[in-house]
Assembly symmetry: C2
Homo-oligomer: 387 residues x 2
Amino acid sequence: MHIPSLKQQFQVAFSYDVHFTEGLFNADNTLIRDVLKQDGGAEPRKIFFVVDDGVAAQHPQLMGAITSYVAAHADVMQLSGPITVIPGGEQCKNEPALVQQLLDAVNTYHIDRHSYFVGIGGGAVLDLVGYVASVAHRGIRHIRIPTTVLSQNDSGIGVKNSVNAFGKKNFLGNFAPPYAVLNDFEFLLTLEDRDWRGGIAEALKVSLIKDAKFFAFIQYNAAKLAARDMPAMQYLIHRCAEMHLQHIAGGDPFEQGSSRPLDFGHWSAHKLEQLSNYRIRHGEAVAIGIALDSVYSHLQGRITEAELDQIISVIRTLGFALYEPEMSVHLADAAHPQSMQHGLQEFREHLGGKLTIMLLEKIGRGVEVHEMDGQLVEEAVRKLQQY
Amino acid sequence: MHIPSLKQQFQVAFSYDVHFTEGLFNADNTLIRDVLKQDGGAEPRKIFFVVDDGVAAQHPQLMGAITSYVAAHADVMQLSGPITVIPGGEQCKNEPALVQQLLDAVNTYHIDRHSYFVGIGGGAVLDLVGYVASVAHRGIRHIRIPTTVLSQNDSGIGVKNSVNAFGKKNFLGNFAPPYAVLNDFEFLLTLEDRDWRGGIAEALKVSLIKDAKFFAFIQYNAAKLAARDMPAMQYLIHRCAEMHLQHIAGGDPFEQGSSRPLDFGHWSAHKLEQLSNYRIRHGEAVAIGIALDSVYSHLQGRITEAELDQIISVIRTLGFALYEPEMSVHLADAAHPQSMQHGLQEFREHLGGKLTIMLLEKIGRGVEVHEMDGQLVEEAVRKLQQY
């Protein structure tokens, strides 16, 4: 055999904008109109909306506002099918019937690859809607309208989407950048305190591993942030989103390697969410995961006690818990599927390859390691329990 | 609101090789070993095999050969789970239970993003296996081992994967380049004549729209190809694969636009497959689609009668039918979902945007148009019926 191999090599360019606004569906707000017109099309575009039921309940005028908005811009867009309300929160990602329901809609309303599939809601709804949009017809244009702090500064602005399967978070998914992200700060006004606070955890995380100045901002404004100061929150979301986008573009956008540097604090967070049957929400779990890996970093002599104290103090001032009982169940037994430490193995398995965990070298700088010492993890948990 | 928008822009690089060999699982063939070692890993890699039942039936020694091969290279690879045989042919893409079965295997055997998920079979099995690999854990490495002419020169070497849903071909899928493609010519020896012939249609297609010299090769060798001459077939596969890869890399790999120039002859082909309940196989349908759009191109004055005669003559010499009864059902009624002409609307809908159809300007050069004249399509069908 002397038939030469063929080498395939190419690059695919992706781009999208993350916009910030208030009153997205107000009659005089042209953002959606302007964003759709960027595609250069001549005819009105089909647009399909999926809304998180939590958002729908908090904003009873939303459905009417969407309908009026689309009608007022009939030269640019037309509704395809009814505005569809689905249950929000992490549990929605456990429901294959919701995936099927949205795929049915794509089929029934003839939504094609140049139509717009819009998700309005928290991170879980956006993950699910993005997943459906990414696999139907090999990818429909999807627009994300994140309504929580967490989704506006982190989960809703990136390139990943997913649903859960086999009891495992994000077992099914892929990488599919959105067409655009529209952050409307007005949605934040009606958030429960838990969800307002929850999203701050991801900003804290990115500040700790990448930007000491941003950590200083959060530290200085922690009480204001906890008290729902909107200008402080707007700055926090914008800066966190900016760093998140820079990280994706500058690194390994589709995670072809083994490392996931932005997942500081996440190996335990994912597992705690699951162990608590999602009673602990993602941001709350991440705050605990940050606390845990910060204590661990200190126990390993990587950060000083003074640095650790600053971190713990910020987390508390923001109003997060440092400890949940699920952390101690089967704690010494990393092989037990219901132990938090089993999360290390699941985390490695999800990413593939070598275990890679981000720890702290100092405030504002992370460091990757490839093993965690089970004894030290136990010690860190005990320390958090006693704070 | 004066918070500036954030612009996200990045490129993702993809690369993979298409190798040609004979006796892939022979003890002394190091191709698979060499390909796996390219990942730079130190430990044996997990590898999971899915085999088309048609291939398993024709190659009863295959399972044993795979097992022996993996065992002989235990320093580089280890089998994860049993070698899994699934039904082949287009019907397998209509079975959600098969997707679920393979996802179950990913979960059960802890197949992670750095493991290898290998499909051995015709294009349909490879599409299905690739789809599962692309969504499990947001993408497991997948290796394609195409066993038909069609999959070795076309469907198995590209970046698309899919399953069918709602009675629509490739309704679910995405773009996910394989880790590698391994073309073993020995698999071609046991193909039915229909499948040997079927794959030639895609080569004929690419020659007609892009390369008059390659058309001349097919024309000159048509009788030999029909008589299963292996050297002629090896050249045909290599050249077709090369052009297909060049087309992907040089164009719009993830089909973000509306055009799909390689789909010459495909709008009717996809529909005829479906209308015949897949009695007409893909390559056979493409040969008819090429004949139809060539006659149409001639009726529109785009190609000469002499050129059309050459094309029709090659298609016949290769042994393809030019007409099937499904073409005439509801022929004048493009709005009828069971008419071939309804395929135009479905084709547009699948791609989104404006209808874009490739026709011929001359042998070796295609031309894109944005509408098809229903009367002329009818006339072309009648002409094919009377040949």
